[in-house]
């Protein structure tokens, strides 16, 4: 027996994120999706930058949301509907290395938005408003002569040799020869310079909402800030605050939080607190699903065209919707991760036992295999 006997191409209850961007799908949780999309639409259509705090327990879908909105083309669909220019969306997990968290953050950023991409984006600006205008813009927004010089070089264009040198420079190469060849006075070492680099980039490419109408930065696993020492924690929060300060327009910062508590403080909003206390803080809650919401999720997931290209009975391989409810009623507090784990295992067990369908009798037979089962 295999999954096609269940009219499925693949096991839809995946436990890790998919490799191909197009395989990231959104099932159920319509309200949550609208809330996030609303934030993005407002970001596209209005100017002031926003910080959005995503709160949810482990396994509530925050990372999935980050992946969905940054890797897949969903934001592109939204901006097209609004007739707006493209949106730049980047997901970064908070660095766990203690020594230089801001540098780690920067490298992660460059890993996703390569130097080539940055150059292309600047070129788009030059093509639209002329080189001189671009340089004026750069000088106006950068407030840092080194960064200003770097971006001016971007604007003028780099040949292959200079490109390689510049990459080295951005990744920390500050040898005299590199610096002199690039005509730069110093390397990018300072946390504040990293802020200036990023904010200059954001400000230049979103000026007048062209070529980009918004830059979305989604920071995942923010609770890992707890693994850093105090000094590093302060550096990260200061960095985010300064980045937000220097990018007052067209910048949407999503932060993924869990409601975990810590040794001396209530939760992470206290850590961020003073850094963001004067800025608008919007919240999105990744709530625990009710049984009905969970059922909707399962239904939409199983029947997504990616997994079930040929439509059929929606509750297959389960005998009926009641069986699905039966399971959901017996696995304690619901989270998406738990649901995925339980249902994934059920499918695999059903295949092993060669069951044409999953009914209550079968579940009772193998329920000891389900760690989450509560009688």
């Amino acid at each position: 027996m295999n999954l096609t006997d269940y009219n499925l191409q693949e096991n839809p209850f995946r436990i890790g994120p998919p490799l191909k961007a197009n395989d990231i799908i959104w099932a159920g949780f319509g309200t949550l999706k609208s809330q996030i999309e609303q934030r993005i639409k407002i970001g596209i259509q209005t100017t002031p930058s926003k910080i959005i705090l995503n709160w949810g327990r482990y396994g509530s879908g925050k990372t999935h949301a980050a992946n969905y909105f940054t890797r897949k083309n969903r934001i592109d669909e939204i901006r097209n509907e609004l007739g707006a220019q493209p949106v730049k969306a980047i997901k970064i997990s908070l660095p766990r290395t203690g020594n230089d968290p801001v540098q780690a953050f920067f490298r992660s950023f460059l890993g996703q938005v390569s130097l080539k991409n940055i150059l292309n984006d600047i070129k788009l600006v030059v093509d639209r408003v002329t080189l001189d205008e671009t340089i004026n813009l750069i000088r106006a927004v950068s407030s840092d002569s080194v960064i200003s010089t770097v971006f001016e070089k971007f604007a003028r264009g780099l040949n292959d040799f200079e490109l390689a040198q510049m990459e080295g420079y951005l990744f920390g190469d500050t040898t005299r020869s590199t610096l002199s060849k690039l005509g730069l006075p110093a390397g990018l070492k300072d946390d504040e310079q990293v802020v200036n680099f990023l904010s200059t980039y954001i400000n230049v490419i979103t000026q007048d909402s062209t070529p980009y109408s918004l830059l979305v930065l989604w920071v995942d696993e923010f609770e890992d800030i707890d693994t850093l020492n105090k000094i590093s924690q302060d550096r990260v929060t200061t960095f985010l605050r300064q980045l937000f300060d220097k990018s007052p327009n067209k910048f949407c910062l999503f932060l993924n939080f869990t409601p975990k508590t810590f040794y001396n403080i209530e939760d992470l909003s206290i850590t961020l607190g003073e850094a963001l206390s004067t800025r608008a803080r919007l919240r999105i809650t990744f709530e625990e699903p009710s049984v009905q919401e969970a059922k909707n999720y399962i239904d939409e997931l199983m029947n997504n065209v990616l997994y079930r290209p040929t439509a059929g009975d929606r509750f297959v391989p389960f005998e009926s919707n009641n069986v699905i409810f039966y399971i959901l009623d017996h696995i304690g507090r619901l989270s998406i991760r738990k649901i995925n784990e339980v249902f994934s295992l059920l499918l695999e067990l059903a295949l092993i036992y060669e069951k044409p369908m999953i009914d209550v009798a079968f579940i009772d037979q193998i329920k000891d295999e389900l760690v989450a089962w509560e009688q």
Binding site: D234, P259, T261, Y263, I265, D267, E287
Partner: protein
């Protein structure tokens, strides 16, 4: 002297005399560690003979005498939530003996030990409790006979009545071991009232930049300094530990350092904020406008007339500070209380400092040698700490940073008083004695006094507090009250997190207000278990074992 049964054993170079007094059901065992040239084979001799001949015999020199006294636990009574050992209270006998020895030689408190044995006797398990004391210096050995005679007649009891506690097994307790807690203290940080004032400063702001706070708070503190002298004169307090005005904020720094040690303040983004645990105290203090009195206490006419004094700690202050100190500093605080009890007539600050270093070293050895302590991390911590304490040179000078502040904290907490005669001496109050009753009860039950305190206080603290300060609070789990206070917590302790507050804040809020408003005791673990069971329809608790705290949220309707 009544004729007693005596048994002798001679083993290696140790003469053991086992001596039973059936009337008061005490058993004495005296180990004479001897250096003897001729072997002496005694038959049954009575104690006078032993003392007069054996000890003074020219053929033998005694290196050390280990004296032990055992008693059968005969009966216990329940006092509140506690059972009180009324008969054969071994801690009482131990401390009584120690006090007498110290009267003879007040520069040294001898090493001692307590242990339990269970004997099966006529189908019944009987617990025998034993304490032993080492007479190890030549002067002490010589003093021993005089001591032993005193022991047989009655001595003035120190009146310690250990509380019999229903404790988990040692294995379970050891799993919760969280380290040997010590506070780094400075001799200047003496008045707990200043800590209260600094906490109250956070009414003006949630946070204060570190660079700015010292000078600001020092300036503000000047307004309460006049209260200090009044505290000494009218409140049985003391006026030491003044925060004067400096030009760089250095005067208040020892207090801020202490507050960080006690986890009252912490730093985030280079600013000071109150910790989550302090917020409970802070918010209740604000709710009562800083004037909390326990309803059942008789309001002191005098106090009503004069305005209250910030250094005179009220019940809320004491609930909070006593807890923080007990969980952060148990080794030094417990040892200090015992030393004060034992030294009695010599319990001046100087007298205490003379004996304290040795007492600590003995105390650490007691922990290590306890048969109930098997966890390697405990033994390792003990070894490390012993090394550090051994290396104190000029201990009596260094101890000023340890003893002076703690004497004053205990004074502020009304656990000790000062007696002003020739020297300034310290004595336990009834409250202090009751705290020692609790600690002795732990020692008699699990063989160690204080390393499990943080864990034990989660199930005992409010009952203990009521017992210490004689509040006569009843243990009642008032469910409507609990639910009401949890509901209120969602407003008082709200942060940016939606539908979620820190569990320990909510639970402590319930426990604190239960005692203060209704004079009932509800313990932390009771509320936590109630929430974890999930039977209540209102709230959902997520508990994180690694942080020993959790998230409380409201169920969706």
């Amino acid at each position: 002297m009544v004729d007693q049964k005596s048994i002798f054993e001679l083993e290696d170079f140790c003469l053991k005399i086992h001596y039973e007094d059936s009337i008061i059901e005490r058993v004495y065992v005296i180990d004479f560690h001897l250096n003897i040239s001729d072997k002496i084979r005694p038959k049954s001799y009575d104690s006078e003979f032993i003392i007069n001949n054996l000890i003074k015999a020219p053929q033998s020199t005694i290196l050390k005498v280990v004296f032990s006294e055992s008693a059968y636990v005969v009966r216990s009574e329940i006092l509140g939530n506690y059972g009180v050992l009324l008969f054969a209270a071994i801690s009482d006998r131990l401390f009584t003996s120690l006090r007498h020895i110290v009267e003879f030689n007040y520069s040294h408190i001898p090493n001692y030990f307590i242990w339990n044995e269970v004997k099966r006797d006529d189908c019944e398990n009987q617990t025998i409790k034993t304490y032993s004391i080492d007479f190890s210096s030549p002067e002490e050995v010589e003093y021993f006979p005089e001591f032993f005679l005193k022991i047989l007649s009655s001595l003035n009891s120190v009146s310690i009545t250990p509380i019999e506690l229903k404790l988990n097994s040692n294995k379970i307790l050891q799993r919760k071991y969280a380290g040997l807690k010590i506070l780094q203290s400075n001799t200047k940080a003496r008045r707990l009232g200043y800590l209260k004032f600094i906490i109250q400063a956070f009414s003006a702001s949630n946070y204060f930049p570190v660079n700015y706070f010292n000078r600001k708070i020092e300036l503000d503190i000047q307004s309460i300094n006049p209260h200090l002298l009044e505290y000494k004169n009218n409140y049985n307090g003391d006026d030491k530990g003044l925060v004067s005005l400096s030009n760089n904020g250095i005067s208040v720094e020892p207090y801020l350092h202490l507050m960080k040690q006690l986890n009252i303040l912490t730093e985030v983004n280079r600013s000071y904020i109150l910790t989550k645990q302090t917020k409970v105290f802070f918010i209740i203090d604000k709710l009562y406008n800083g004037r909390v009195e326990n309803r059942n206490q008789i309001i002191d006419e005098q106090k009503e007339k004069s305005s209250f004094n910030v250094f005179d700690l009220n019940i809320l202050d004491r609930i909070y500070f006593l807890n923080q100190i007990l969980i952060s500093d148990s080794l030094y605080i417990c040892s200090l209380l015992e030393v004060i009890l034992i030294l009695y007539n010599n319990s001046s600050s100087a007298g205490i400092k003379k004996v304290f270093k040795e007492y600590l070293l003995d105390e650490l050895a007691r922990i290590s040698n306890s048969p109930d302590v098997t966890l390697n991390s405990i033994k390792r911590d003990v070894v490390e700490l012993r090394k550090r304490i051994q290396s104190w040179t000029k201990a009596e000078v260094y101890l000023e940073h340890i003893i002076e502040p703690r004497l004053n904290w205990l004074l502020d907490l009304k656990l000790i008083v000062q007696i002003h005669d020739k020297n300034k001496k310290y004595r336990l109050t009834d409250s202090g004695t009751r705290l020692l009753n609790y600690l002795s009860g732990i020692y008699e039950s699990v063989g160690v006094k204080h390393i499990y305190l943080p864990e034990l206080l989660l199930k005992d603290y409010f009952t203990l507090f009521s017992y210490i300060y004689d509040l006569k609070a009843k243990a009642i789990f008032d469910e409507p009250f609990v639910l009401e206070k949890l509901e209120q917590s969602f407003i008082l302790f709200k942060t940016d997190a939606p539908n979620r507050i820190t569990a320990s804040q909510a639970i402590n809020f319930v426990c604190y207000t239960a005692l203060i408003e209704k004079n009932i005791t509800i313990e932390f673990n009771e509320v936590k278990d109630y929430l974890l069971k999930g039977q209540n329809k209102e709230f959902l608790l997520d508990w994180f074992h690694t942080e020993n705290d959790g998230s409380l949220s409201k169920r969706r309707k």
